[in-house]
Symmetry: C2
Subunit: 360 residues, 2 copies
């Protein structure tokens, strides 16, 4: 090391040798960790993610959060939905709400989200800006900050426009214990409202089909609804929560049935499927019970708490349509059986793969 | 709801109607949230991520971690490196080590990672399995569990083989306060070892050029090294830490200089650039100081602590080559100036974009 201070160019004489960059599209250098990356963060992401919350927006490499002693929930999801924009939402608010909901299903109060972007070279900055704004708005609406992020760029043809990953951190309040292993035969199965809307909204845009009524995605954060439910039952009688996303209501119910070692008996006539969803699904050959939702939850609740929990749900905007749709039973563990509108019963099977790819 | 129990098919009579699936490649259904998704998780990811740790592997939608009251660090990175396998590592261990290192740079002890996969339809399961195994092994080596994950599949041509996102959670020990805002003029700048190896390793495979000596990636977790450094200085004289990944040593130093409002004077002759890296960079027209590293750190340390911190670093495998390479100065804030081997000085500028795309 030199002992004398280095006296190079006087900064006052130093002029940025780079032209102002007026590109309207993502170039490879936006993912390079250099000046272009910094410009993207400072001019596009930070303003979008700091929408008036005054948090200063996300930090660069890692963020610091303060937590009480105890349990935290951690979750991650990547979002690859196509189209990027659809009735009722876009990939941005989906990426915020979806990860918030995964946290909420463990009873956690979300306290921060990360955002990782994989961008295709040539993506319009205006489009990226709209999606970032949408994420910021959704995070703001949910009261959860986007605390740190990352951006990578891949060459044209190596990705499809953009993919977003979000991870989330939540604090599980003391005394809250929600998980499929707590489900018991006799538990009521409650759904928070209409099913099938998100999947049909995506499909209606993708197929370019007009079903008469526009079905909009139900994309919404559910941690407020969960908090209301937990407040209505202080004695741990909400046994399990699940958001029926990919695979829909059926996948959510069967996953819990398998984890808990119980069967589930569904009253199919009680399941709220809007007429518009039913007719679109009929046209497309989809089962509305296996179509993704992005703003609904399924709860397994001790019957002694059902009345209080239902009342709390119905008092919350995201749970206004809450109804009991079935019951956990000791028969046929790991399976769901439905009583149809005709009074007959059938085994309800999950899809092998998916009805509709890139739904979220 | 029916009051009587549903008596459908006796499960004992029920036979899985699906054939055993012998596919060797990823199909769209692996991302659908149905039976194929479950098979992928149970047969490929869980065994890879539960490599003898007995943690039961990652949980499905969210994981629960127990933390002390205080500060946690949260970080995320997506990994899009090509080729997926390179001398010294692969996208899997990079995804584990890279996010661990982001946490370590805030002084945090990593306690859990998430893993999000975006897979291209047609990807060989064997290749995915190798990468998952590598992630599990790296996580095991670092003593940090992969606690939850997510898998999406996009159609052939909509992604380039696979992309991995990891997010990480770490606990910042009480009393640890590391951040660029703490850097002061006079701080020594220490690098933990040779620079430029990761980028040259990638480039040598990608360009198919034989430089005589095989340069291997330095991919490694640095939280152990950081813990040793922090233990050597109980009085908060390690002011800032940064892992010089994209943009290399220069980007790391300039980012800290800009955040801290100090200048940095580097003694270029003191910077450890292996001969093999220097000659490869010369051939390729790259600046070794701007080539990515994946197992090195830069530390800004109060000079009164330099001796103890250096000794601690040199006693750790990942810091054996630690040296002082420069100093924070009050002149030219936000800029790095190098004293060359010829005794002249020059302003060191960051790249506009990147020298080498998809390096991590």
């Amino acid at each position: 090391m030199p002992d004398e201070p280095v006296t190079a160019i006087d900064p006052a004489d130093w002029v940025c040798p780079l032209p102002l960059r007026e590109t309207k599209r993502i170039v490879m250098g936006h993912g390079g960790g250099g000046i272009l990356s910094e410009e993207l963060i400072e001019n596009l992401f930070l303003p979008a993610f700091d929408s008036g919350r005054g948090t200063g927006g996300p930090s660069r490499d890692s963020a610091v959060l303060t937590v009480p002693a105890g349990r935290i929930a951690v979750s991650t999801d990547s979002y690859v939905v196509q189209p990027l924009f659809f009735p009722g939402g876009d990939i941005g608010d989906l990426a915020v709400n979806g990860t918030i909901n995964d946290l909420a299903m463990s009873g956690a109060t979300p306290i921060g989200l990360t955002a990782g972007f994989i961008l295709e070279e040539g993506l319009e900055l205006e489009l990226l800006g709209r999606i970032a704004q949408s994420m910021g708005k959704a995070a703001d609406h949910a009261g959860v900050g986007i605390v740190t992020g990352d951006t990578k760029v891949v060459g044209k043809g190596s990705a499809d426009q953009l993919f977003v990953n979000t991870a989330g951190i939540g604090v599980i309040p003391e005394g809250v214990d929600v998980g499929p292993e707590r489900v018991r035969p006799g538990d009521d199965v409650i759904v928070s409202g209409n099913v099938g809307e998100h999947g049909v909204a995506i499909m209606s845009v993708r197929a370019g089909i007009d079903f008469g009524t526009v079905v909009t995605s139900d994309s919404a954060p559910l941690h407020g609804l969960v908090a209301a439910m937990l407040a209505a039952d202080a004695s741990g009688r909400i046994h399990a929560l699940r958001d029926p996303t990919r695979g829909g209501l059926v996948a959510a119910v069967i996953e819990i049935a398998r984890s808990a070692g119980v069967g589930v008996a569904l009253d199919e006539a009680a399941i709220p499927v809007p007429e518009s969803v039913a007719s679109a699904c009929g046209f497309l050959g989809l089962d509305p019970l296996q179509v993704a939702n992005e703003g609904k939850l399924v709860a397994f609740v001790d019957p002694s708490a059902t009345e209080a929990v239902l009342a709390a749900m119905r008092g919350h905007p995201e749970g206004a349509g809450a109804v009991v749709i079935g019951r956990a039973v000791s028969e046929h563990p790991g399976m769901a059986v439905g009583r149809t509108a005709f009074g007959t019963t059938r085994v309800i099977e999950r899809e092998l793969g998916e009805q509709l790819p890139r739904i979220c």
